[in-house]
């Protein structure tokens, strides 16, 4: 028996592809292991094989059934029919599927794919030998879809702290030139509707108008959805938020520069399956303020200031100010973060993952 992984699409700088590559390194310690994907970005071609090249049972020397770990994130009928037809055992790893409602108006095609992703998961329900979720929040979603026995297997991540990537000093200077100086809040993540960057900018407007005029906000991440991005740029312009910036795509060194100047990490996101930047904020000893939505409370636990899940701009702004100014709170959050971040050690996640696989292998 061999253990392989199946993705819908593999691309560079994609969290799911990245975790699949880490899992592959782990699985290759056990035996031969490949990643197969329906769509393979050219940059990933040396690492990831195409789904059509997956060897059917008759071409395998041992002929035994393999174990396929399917990373579920978006709809793709061909991948699902492949999983149904192979005769191999299937373990689904649920990374969460963003609710389609966030995209139904802005990108109907993408919204349809998200919807399809959930329907396909229900369709696969009786086929899978084991259902894994990267958080209890995700496990809850799978259970709501009718999966009988869902286990939690944390994401195998390499949470990088300061020093992992050299800081681009030019970027530090550029941020100061554009935004001036002042206590700095950082958001890291894709600029998409479910991350509620709009609400974040509104909260920053409240913060800089009424509470901390010197504060800076860096929104670091790509905005694939042009209308949303353009509307945010409009908001930035019309509210006169000259101490806030949407960076767009950043190189790792530039992102490291953002972390190096950050005094607080903030997110207004409504939907997260895990939220990796929260773990990175802990590793960088940057205190967190966030809304208590989806998997965020589970990831943060007591190592960050969480305001209500339905908090508006004013309460979030108070939280931002508190995290930047309350020195006792900052020290305590950093202490707790240093403890909490140890839970994300890849060895722990690896052990849990392999133990779950062993139970069905």
């Amino acid at each position: 028996m061999e253990i392989h992984q199946v993705l819908v699409s593999a691309s560079a700088a994609d969290a799911i592809t990245d975790s699949a590559l880490r899992l592959r390194t782990l699985l290759r310690e056990v035996g031969p292991s490949e990643i197969y994907a329906r769509h393979v970005h050219p940059a990933m071609a040396p690492e990831v094989r195409r789904l059509m090249h997956y060897p059917p049972p008759r071409e395998r020397p041992g002929g035994e059934r393999n174990l396929l770990v399917f990373h579920a994130s978006i709809g793709q009928p061909e991948v699902v029919s492949f999983l149904m037809d192979q005769g191999d055992r299937v373990v689904v790893m649920y990374h969460n599927i963003t609710p389609a409602s966030y995209f139904s108006e802005l990108d109907p095609t993408f919204a349809d794919l998200l919807d399809a992703g959930r329907s396909e998961l229900r369709y696969l329900r009786d086929k899978v030998d084991l259902a894994l979720a990267v958080s209890h929040y995700n496990a809850g979603e799978l259970e709501a879809m009718g999966f009988p026995d869902v286990r939690v297997s944390p994401l195998l991540v390499d949470v990088r702290g300061p020093g992992a990537v050299p800081v681009d000093e030019g970027m530090v200077g550029e941020l100061e030139r554009v935004l001036g100086t002042g206590p700095t809040l950082l958001f890291v993540g894709q600029v998409l509707p479910h991350k509620r960057v709009d609400l974040l900018l509104q909260a920053f407007h409240v913060l800089s108008t009424h509470l901390l005029p010197e504060a800076r906000l860096i929104v670091a991440g790509i905005g694939r959805l042009r209308p949303y991005r353009k509307a945010l740029e409009g908001l930035l312009h019309e509210l006169g938020l000259y101490k806030a910036t949407l960076t767009g795509h950043l190189r790792p060194e530039e992102l490291a520069a953002c972390w190096s100047v950050a005094d607080g990490f903030v997110t207004a996101s409504e939907h997260e399956g895990f939220c990796m930047p929260l773990a990175e904020a802990m590793a960088h000893q940057v205190p967190i303020v966030a809304r208590a939505c989806a998997a965020i409370p589970e990831t943060v636990q007591d190592a960050g200031l969480l305001v209500d899940g339905d908090a508006g701009p004013q309460l979030l702004a108070e939280g931002m100010a508190e995290v930047l100014e309350n020195q006792a709170l900052r020290a305590e959050l950093n202490r707790r973060a240093a403890v909490r971040v140890r839970d994300f050690h890849p060895d722990l996640a690896a052990e849990t993952f392999l133990r779950h696989l062993l139970s069905v292998a």
């Binding site: 031969p32 393979v40 050219p42 071609a45 040396p46 690492e47 094989r49 195409r50 090249h53 060897p55 049972p57 008759r58 071409e59 395998r60 020397p61 041992g62 002929g63 035994e64 005769g87 108006e105 802005l106 709009d198 509104q202 407007h205 409240v206 009424h210 042009r226 209308p227 949303y228 353009k230 509307a231 409009g234 908001l235 019309e238 509210l239 007591d302 200031l305 969480l306 305001v307 209500d308 508006g312 701009p313 004013q314 309460l315 108070e318 939280g319 508190e322 309350n326 006792a328 709170l329 020290a331 305590e332 959050l333 202490r335």
Partner: protein
């Protein structure tokens, strides 16, 4: 230090933050309905974007159209009208003089406007429809190249798929050029009759192997010949069918009422559903296969035979030198003898649970070296007997 930690109570901080918001609202520091206004403001921006997803490009097209409409220069556009009576004629006369003087300037201006128009049209077109096909072509070419490079790397690294493909090609070449293309003028029937023994002898010889397959229905007998093993299996109530490459033997077996199909054994295995067979037998067949066909055979058996099913392969024993002198080279279609240790290894590697070996057809006692009564010599005689006169055949019985 401990006191300071206790002082940090996140819930208490949250309550305090909410109070501060309420106070700021009450004191008028926050304008009334500020949050609602901010939300509506963004909604308006979004509504605008939803309707007009690509404003710059559309605007560019409009500008180009306006320019085109305005760049239709020409003498006919000069107006000679005048409100003064008789002024039209004067204007016309003056206009003609001016027009004559400016005609070439006008012509140059027209040419320039045309060039500007063409450039702007192209720019507008490019802005709206970037030449994606170039990108796509390049991407797909690059994609293909990277895939090939990746495959090449895997071959170097001993990737199983690449090796199987390579071995398949080698086997095909071997099949095309090797002993398999042997095409004698005599009938196989005559050969069998001369060297293979009677049907009764065959039935007696393989009865024990048939016993081992009870409960392993259905059994596929590859290279079933006239159907002796099928007959034995039928007698034991085991459902069985055979494949045979020799058309004459197939006819004979069918005439005797056996379920025999004309064709290649490996192809028959490939055609069977996964786990659909209870048993596969090859009696004196594997020595006719190439090495690649042998490894493929075992892999296919692992795939097609259900758990608990059996594969029985009987063949000549290369550990007996007597075999080479008497039988192996008698059949010109033998490709190579198969070593029992290798065959056992193949089945174990393919994941079979139990692999047993059964030594068969001892060399005739009369042919072996006889002891002479001297212990030292007899020990040597024994060792020589083992080397020269080991069992002529062996059967591997592998349980899936």
């Amino acid at each position: 230090m401990e006191e300071q930690r206790d002082a940090v109570d996140l819930q208490a901080i949250l309550v305090e933050l909410k109070e501060r918001v309420a106070q700021r609202r009450a004191s008028g520091e926050y304008p009334e309905a500020l949050e609602a206004q901010l939300g509506e403001h963004f909604e308006r921006l979004m509504a605008h974007r939803r309707q007009d997803p690509l404003p710059e490009e559309t605007y560019l097209t409009e500008l180009v159209e306006q320019l085109q409409a305005r760049s239709d220069f020409g003498l006919h556009k000069f107006s000679y009208k005048s409100s003064v009576p008789g002024g039209d004629k004067l204007h016309k006369a003056v206009g003609k003089v001016v027009a004559r003087q400016n005609a070439s300037v006008l012509q140059q201006l027209e040419h320039w406007a045309d060039a500007v128009n063409r450039t702007l049209k192209l720019l507008a077109h490019l802005a709206q429809e970037p030449p994606r096909h170039f990108h796509d072509d390049l991407w797909s070419q690059l994609d293909g190249l990277l895939q090939r490079a990746a495959d090449a790397e895997r071959v170097e690294a001993g990737g199983p798929a690449a090796l199987v493909a390579l071995a398949d090609r080698v086997a095909k070449l071997e099949a095309a050029t090797g002993g398999q293309s042997f095409d004698p003028w005599y009938s196989n029937d005559a050969f069998e009759a001369a060297f293979r023994g009677t049907r009764e002898e065959m039935l007696e010889r393989y009865a024990d192997l048939a016993d081992r397959l009870v409960g392993c229905d259905p059994v596929l007998d590859i290279g079933c010949g006239r159907g002796e093993l099928l007959e034995l299996l039928g007698q034991r109530g085991v459902e069985a069918w055979g494949v045979e490459t020799d058309g004459e033997l197939v006819k004979a077996a069918k005439a005797d009422g056996f379920d025999v199909r004309h064709g290649d054994g490996l192809a028959a295995l490939r055609g069977a559903d996964l786990g659909s067979l209870g048993g596969v037998t090859l009696i004196q067949v594997i020595e006719h296969l190439t090495s690649q066909q042998s490894v493929d055979l075992v892999a296919l058996c692992a795939d097609r035979v259900r758990r608990g099913g059996k594969v029985v392969i009987e063949t000549v024993n290369p550990q007996s030198l007597y075999v080479y002198a008497h039988s192996f080279y008698l059949d010109p279609t033998h490709v190579r003898p198969v070593h029992p240790a290798w065959l056992m290894f193949l089945f174990k590697e393919a994941g079979f649970h139990e692999v047993a070996i059964d030594w068969r057809s001892p060399a005739p006692e009369a042919d072996t070296l006889q002891p002479v009564g001297d212990d030292a010599h007899d020990a040597n005689v024994e060792r020589l007997n083992q080397l020269l006169f080991a069992a002529q055949d062996y059967a591997v019985i592998a349980t899936r």
